[in-house]
């Protein structure tokens, strides 16, 4: 006979549990009770204690203050400091404008720097076509700017603006000095039709020396203004081919070199020419000769 239980020390001791002890042991061994006592109750007690501790306003303030201090100390570390800003691809004037617009006070912590906001600020400038903002190793803020290229000048309402190829304004300027190589457009709504104007300038290269400006009429069609007050009125649709027709006529007949005030090709099917005053008088006289009204 062997026993698997621990041998009892006292002789004559009854190893049998009392009925109550037996039932209590069994009750304690029931799975839900064990789970409740060993898992649920400790978790509840711990959660409650931590929650009660956190409910005290003084503790909350202490925690917030501590967290703020830790955060500030991390932010103030030299590894996260940004000391300078480099702007590439911008003219000195534009770079200065960008610096003023961003208005950063270096050194600044990397955590306080919102590169998206800086990007939006820079890209909102008229003269900037595109910008890329990066923070480089060693604590430098790098702004790579691509400027808009001025292609035309636009005079309207007494102001003079530089426009890029898409018609977007680059800057107001006071005078045309130094920018005389840029062609001039005028009239309301001319900025919306800058690509068309550029195509017209391109097509009108043979008479470029004589072109003074392109004038937008009623925000729908172009007039080409030449020197001597000559005007070529172009149609709304396909103005380039109309201008090419006029130029071809100029090549063959020298139309524009004559005393013609207005070449009207608004209706491409019917080209109309208004003569200058002298030519008109001359024509009248010639016609009178023809009719025999006037005699020499």
């Amino acid at each position: 006979m062997r026993t698997l239980t621990r041998p009892r020390r006292r002789y004559g001791h009854d190893p049998a549990p009392s009925r109550t002890a037996y039932r209590l042991t069994r009750f304690w061994l029931s799975p839900w009770l064990r789970w409740t006592v060993t898992t649920v109750l400790p978790v509840c007690a711990l959660t409650g204690a931590v929650g009660f501790w956190l409910m005290q306003p003084a503790q909350q303030q202490r925690i917030v203050a501590g967290a703020t201090q830790i955060r500030a100390s991390v932010e103030a570390r030299p590894e996260f400091q940004i000391r300078q800003m480099a702007i590439t691809g911008a003219s000195p004037v534009l770079a200065e404008t960008i610096r003023q617009r961003i208005g950063l006070d270096f050194p600044v912590s990397w955590f306080h720097l919102d590169t998206h906001e800086i990007h939006d600020t820079v890209a909102a400038l008229d003269a900037v076509a595109d910008a890329r903002v990066t923070v480089e190793l060693g604590g430098a803020l790098h702004i790579d700017v691509r400027e808009r290229e001025p292609v035309v000048l636009w005079r309207h309402d007494g102001a003079l603006e530089m426009l890029d190829a898409t018609g977007h304004r680059i800057a107001y300027i006071d005078r045309r000095d130094g920018l005389s190589f840029l062609p001039l457009v005028t009239g309301d709504g001319a900025d919306a039709a800058v690509p068309e104007a550029l195509a017209l300038f391109d097509a009108g290269k043979p008479i470029m020396k004589r072109v003074r400006a392109l004038m937008r009429q009623g925000a729908r069609r172009w007039d080409v203004v030449l020197d001597r007050g000559q005007v070529i009125e172009l149609p709304e649709t396909e103005p380039v081919s109309a201008l090419e027709r006029v130029l071809a006529m100029q090549d063959s007949t020298g139309l524009l070199t004559r005393d013609v005030a207005i070449v009207d090709i608004r209706d491409p099917a019917r080209l109309t020419v208004r003569l200058g005053p002298a030519a008109a008088e001359n024509l009248e006289t010639t016609r009178s000769f023809g009719k025999g009204i006037v005699s020499q």
Partner: protein, 443 residues
């Protein structure tokens, strides 16, 4: 017969419910010790592969708690003092629960006493269709006539051990075979009703629910005999303290079980009476120095008999080991002769195999195998229980054959495969089901 199958089915349902809960207590209440094993069923997959048998279902469970204690209030495997037995069961269940760290609500119990008696029944029917169906098997099982076992006795086990289909005998499973007459042999084991009721009451008083009941002679055979021995035919003799159970297995089924109401405790009593020493000391001398075959050296091997009577001469005696053997041997011989008589009465001689396996606590006496070959025949071996998962080393001895066998019985009960529906004509109300069955069988 129908009533018997309903009882069996109810017991099976209870056992299934217990196994679904996952934890079952195995309770072996013997004369000298009570053992409790806590089994956890985790529904483990049976290992599959070539040559791997069902392994008696032992891979499905794991022993997570084990305890044993001195049984009290037991005599010849029956409860003599209810309160004492209850305390022993409480002790052992509490200790096993403590080891397993889980509460057990269902207990499967084995006991050794209550005078088991075997009956061989037979039934015969005409097969209803062309081939044997499950309802035919239910019918042939129901056709076995129950012998008059007396009002004071109850059926403990009833298993079909053989099927005969048109003069072809020895069928294990005749389902799907074609024949006209189906007959079956059924082995039924009856026990004393009062003893069983006492055990049920004891379990109930310990707040446990009974999920199964088995004779320890049967379950001892399940664990001590290897599978081949069960198939070819063998007898298992479970030498306990108060009783010696014997069970005969053939073709994997128990075909006979009986108990002899003498055991190792009687040997202890003989030593106590013969030498005039207390029972505890006699038990100690028996286990430490006991033997059955005397040699010349045993005459010089002196054993001290310490006593506390106050009589110096009486308390300072010494006996030689051969004297002890001289006391023990006649009693063990008597047990084995009695067992031989029961085997002869059961017709064990006519079985194809004469294998006899000795197990149980009293089989640990040195020299028993030698003595048993003289009385029981040459093919005698000492059996130890099958090794199962989680069994503590201390519980692997032959004294735990019945407990381990009960584990195997719980995991893989032999009547499980005969869980057939009750015959249709017993359900006159369920005519729709009969109609469906008729339709299915005839179309």
């Amino acid at each position: 017969m129908i009533e018997l199958f309903e009882i069996q089915r109810a017991m099976r349902q209870m056992r299934k419910a217990a196994m679904q809960r996952g934890v079952v207590a195995i309770l072996d209440i013997g004369t000298s010790k009570a053992t409790c094993l806590v089994l956890r069923f985790d529904g483990g997959e049976l290992p599959s592969g070539d040559g791997v048998g069902p392994m008696a279902g032992q891979s499905q469970f794991r022993i997570i708690g084990a305890a044993t204690t001195r049984a009290r209030g037991m005599r010849h495997g029956e409860i003599e003092v209810m309160a004492e037995t209850e305390r022993a069961v409480r002790t052992v269940v509490q200790a096993a629960q403590k080891m397993a760290q889980v509460r057990v609500d269902h207990a499967i119990v084995s006991f050794s006493g209550a005078g088991p008696r075997s009956y061989g029944l037979s039934g015969e029917i005409e097969v209803s269709g062309s081939e044997v169906s499950e309802s035919d098997i239910a019918a042939v099982l129901a056709s076995c006539e129950t012998p008059d076992i007396g009002t004071h006795r109850t059926v403990l086990h009833a298993q079909p051990v053989n099927f005969i289909l048109d003069h072809r005998s020895g069928l294990a499973d005749p389902r799907g075979q074609i024949g006209n007459r189906l007959a079956t042999d059924l082995h039924m084991l009856s026990v004393d009703r009062a003893a069983v009721q006492n055990i049920l009451h004891c379990i109930k008083r310990c707040d446990l629910e009974l999920a199964g009941l088995a004779s320890s002679a049967y379950v001892g055979g399940i664990s001590a005999l290897v599978e081949d021995e069960q198939k070819i035919g063998a007898a298992c003799i479970d030498l306990g303290a108060g009783t010696s159970g014997l069970s005969i297995f053939l073709r994997g089924h128990m075909i006979y079980a009986d108990t002899v109401r003498i055991g190792g405790h009687h040997v202890t009593q003989d030593i106590s009476k013969g030498l005039g020493i207390p029972l505890a000391l006699a038990e100690r001398i028996k286990t430490l120095h006991g033997g059955l075959v005397a040699t010349g050296r045993d005459d010089r091997d002196m054993i001290e008999l310490k006593g506390e009577t106050g009589d110096w001469e009486h308390d300072r005696r010494e006996i030689s080991r051969s004297e002890l053997i001289g006391i023990m041997r006649p009693r063990v011989e008597e047990i084995l002769e009695e067992v031989r008589g029961r085997l002869d009465a059961a017709g064990f001689d006519s079985l194809p195999s004469q294998k006899i396996v000795l197990t149980g606590g009293a089989s640990q006496v040195p020299g028993l195998a030698h003595l048993a070959t003289r009385i029981l025949g040459q093919q005698v071996r000492l059996g130890r229980p099958l090794r199962v998962q989680g069994l503590p080393q201390a519980a692997t001895g032959p004294a735990f054959s019945a407990a381990v066998g009960l584990c195997l019985f719980a995991a893989h009960p032999q009547d499980e495969c005969w869980d057939f529906n009750i015959e249709d004509h017993r359900y006159p109300a369920r005519s729709l089901r009969r109609a469906v069955r008729w339709f299915r069988e005839n179309w």
